[in-house]
Subunit: 292 residues, 2 copies
DNA sequence: CTGCACTATGAATCGCTAA
DNA sequence: GTTAGCGATTCATAGTGCA
């Protein structure tokens, strides 16, 4: 089964209406932040941001499967020397709308934007807000396990007698451990702090969304042939990653330049792979060209 | 000039009234989180938390100098599968009270609490909310610069693959115990993500945060002989650090056991230092003992 | 005094059972 | 219905003691 790509050109509030109820497994997106990227998106004003986003999140709530997850990458900007509060207000409003605010992951940016100000340091993190429809949702934790820390190598080399049996914490918390369970273990589960670099090679689009970010959440919250939606697709990072991971991808983009860039990109890559296959199989390449 | 320690036993809402207006340069504290530490602090209920805290923050606003800073360490817990929203509601309420919410630092905990659940990962971060009275406040950024350059570069070059995955940007976020050693070397300003371990002391009461945390903010927001206040002093980590850094320290603690522990601790250390000095100067030690 | 082995434990969370 | 208590689960770090 081949995974599909669907692209829509237009305002996502309207385009989302074309998507059926309960059909998407993961929504992951980085909407235009308030009052930023004015030159491209026209800029949503800070005090209008919540009102602007709520109709969209309402549609997202409709199209998401009950077991699905919505990951919202956002960070409030500084206004008049203060962090503005629209993100917090948005969370409160979305909960009233019916969303569950399950978790807040932190994206710790390794190489954050340079700069120096007298009253603040560089901003090295963004919010990755996890919303769900139900308390029960799909999560595939084993898909994102990471290598165990170096401490384990020396720690697990020689086990004491107490290590081999269950050790119960003395503080009465009921917490204990059995270190010997860790023998042979090479990987552990990550935490809610995601630690990635920003990408410098972003093309025209100003969003610095490294591929690893959607990749991590796609692995965590979907399986193959599931459907991933990015209602602010931009240059199409999420769509590209989802497709490579054999997930069906739906992208909506309001700016026609980005939309056509995506079309070209995914056509071309599809074309390339057809060409390659055709060559490999020594089949006629003409058919490929006619498709492209 | 010798730095002073003032300790108060009692509810900080009342004890704060003894402190004059505009007299404190830095407030740094970690109040009991909602519904946590029940065994010691009785536990403040989530839906009463904002109402409980606002009278305290009102007093804090009064005692803080116009150029001063308030750093609040807090993190919301999970309730019914959702992150609770009381911290966000507190921020919104404190802004109405007159506070400026200048910044949110992230404390990325190196050794977070273990555990495994089907629907979430371990929580590895806490909020460090920075509030101010005015847009202009004292900030001594040079005091917290961290090293970069040949040392960091060569260190980074030789990382193994697993190290690369797990590497926690020492160049952007960490800060060590001997920052003074690095003066003269290549240094860079840190970011708004701080990366520290929780402390694993085997003392009677667990310190809420590692010494490096108040140390960092005291360096960043105060100079010698400034005044640091911790209205939830607990075992006295902040007080101890402030005193060692030659800042005047004010601590308030409601639990008499902790209060008397602090008294004893700071008496003893004062006594120890007097003893030492007396020995060094070959003066009579009897005077010291009479003080203790 | 350095290095290694080993101990202790930390603002946790979920699901079940009992009242 | 609702709440309160208990068992199970888990990783990385600092501190201590000894060679």
């Amino acid at each position: 089964m081949k995974s599909k790509i669907e692209l829509y050109l237009g305002d996502c509030k309207k385009e989302l209406m074309k998507i059926p109820d309960n059909s998407v497994d993961l929504i992951i997106t980085s909407p235009p932040y308030a009052d930023q990227r004015k030159s491209t998106y026209g800029g949503v004003k800070i005090n209008e941001y919540v009102d602007w986003f709520l109709p969209i999140s309402k549609e997202l709530l409709r199209v998401l499967k009950p077991t699905g997850t919505f990951v919202l990458n956002i960070k409030e900007k500084v206004v008049n020397g203060e962090r503005s509060t629209y993100v917090m207000e948005l969370i409160l409003a979305m909960r009233k709308q019916g969303w569950l605010w399950t978790e807040e992951f932190i994206w710790h940016k390794k190489n954050c934007f340079p700069g120096k100000w007298s009253n603040r340091f560089r901003d090295a993190w963004e919010r990755l807000l996890q919303f769900n429809k139900n308390k029960k949702f799909n999560m595939y934790q084993d898909a994102v396990k990471i290598p165990i820390g170096d401490w384990a190598k020396s720690r697990l080399k020689n086990l004491s007698e107490t290590d081999k049996i269950r050790y119960n914490a003395k503080n009465g918390s009921g917490f204990g451990k059995n270190v010997s369970n860790w023998i042979g273990k090479n990987t552990v589960y990550p935490t809610n702090v995601v630690h990635l670099s920003t990408e410098c090679n972003s093309k025209n689009h100003s969003a610095a969304f490294p591929k690893e970010l959607p990749e991590w959440f796609i692995r965590l919250f979907t399986q193959e042939n599931d459907t991933v939606l990015d209602p602010f697709a931009g240059s199409g990072t999420t769509i590209e990653v989802a497709n490579k991971m054999n997930r069906n991808a739906i992208g909506i983009e309001i700016i026609s330049e980005y939309y056509y860039d995506m079309k070209r990109q995914f056509y071309e890559s599809k074309c390339d792979s057809l060409k390659k296959r055709a060559k490999d199989e020594k089949a006629e390449t003409a058919r490929c060209y006619s498709i492209c």
